[in-house]
Symmetry: C2
Amino acid sequence: MTDAQRAADKRASVKLTTEWDAELYFKFGAARARPALDLLSRVDFTPKRIVDLGCGPGVSTQMLRQRFPEADILAVANSDEMLAEARRVLPDMRFEETDIAEWRPQEPPDLIFANSSLQWLTTHETLFPRLMSDLAEGGALAVQMADNLHEPSHALMRMIAADGPWRDRLKPIAKTRAVIGAHSDYFAWLTPLAERLDIWETTYVHPLSGVDEVVEWFRSGSLRAFLDPLDRDERVQFLERYERDLADAYDVAPDGGLLFLYPRLFLYARKGAG
Amino acid sequence: MTDAQRAADKRASVKLTTEWDAELYFKFGAARARPALDLLSRVDFTPKRIVDLGCGPGVSTQMLRQRFPEADILAVANSDEMLAEARRVLPDMRFEETDIAEWRPQEPPDLIFANSSLQWLTTHETLFPRLMSDLAEGGALAVQMADNLHEPSHALMRMIAADGPWRDRLKPIAKTRAVIGAHSDYFAWLTPLAERLDIWETTYVHPLSGVDEVVEWFRSGSLRAFLDPLDRDERVQFLERYERDLADAYDVAPDGGLLFLYPRLFLYARKGAG
């Protein structure tokens, strides 16, 4: 087989659509569910009214329903394929399509649960205090955010975007995702507003069978913004380079396996009873 | 008041005993309990026979009893003041005084729970596989270890020990506590022995009111080994220097407050059903 044939085969086998891909997303289902479970286990009261802010494909919504069967739960998300999936698997739940950056509750919820969503929003210094003020008295804000922008997985996406034939199109996108604050920022913003405030960072260590699994992990997530503006050949080129650079950056075992680190920042702020 | 008087007052007010101090230990009770709770929440089955390996003052033992009321629980610890406290608050529990490094079960337990104890032991590359082999089929090894040797709180203890009138006495002690492995080490040692293996690191962020609280946190723990061989004046001197160096190392707010980071490594290894 010639190199050209091999490349053609690879092109054909790589799924190059940039649509959100439920199959890919749920391939790492247990690993993706774990932080939501950890956040949920921190909730230390029984909320009556819950908002799942940025519900994605509804995994967190389902967990909230299981733990709080009596609660009134509203799941909120930007309109996209993930929300469509959530509606499909949870036909009895209440969903609201809206820009989560702008969302305000009609009635103050007891719990705002934001699992892996707020890292996409900017201006946390006003957003987080506003969410606290939206809560009912005695309520809680529970947040988990990916904190992986400095991991090789994400630094490499930005570096490849900034250095290639696509750089004029992709450089602005490399800045799309907000840099979240340090834990000291959230302490500074929320300590005056919270009766109790608990902040911690957990780095999950995922053994993956190869760097191609890192690509798969993010193809349905962070990579989409970079692949979207590219044509088919460019996508192949971007992904091939990403995979090669990942293999350099991670400590890859002889069998191809690697330990993939995923740091996440958690925050649980309980509002005073008023 | 002269400087000499001030120093004398300080000497009198500082509790300079190196005995384990229940009051000090439990001052940070909620913060100390949290990692044990997080570890416990990872246990995904109902064990019949449990060993609490390195039970300290019994906080973890009590949690295990609450979550698994039907289980046969044995709490094991080196004989010291903490074990005496555990016996006092849990008179109905079964305790065994032994060197936890040497401990072997008479009957294979379903769960070995080691909360904040194994970081004191060396040779993890043989210890951890041995603990796996001690488990019953389908059992689990659940471990949480302080991973703070590189934090200012601990690096400073060693630096002060190595540079002062006490250096000949304290330098050997600075090496007492084993350096725990990297997560990749535990993956390498346990992957062949575990059906499922989950490793994560959590850094808890504790807002403290001043560096004196860091001193209090560890006076009942890691500091004891350094203070033990010193006389009264040297202890005052060591602690004053420690407090001063902490104030330089941490980002202290105008009101004296600081965010104190405490990284901990977690490991949950489930053995195959045989």
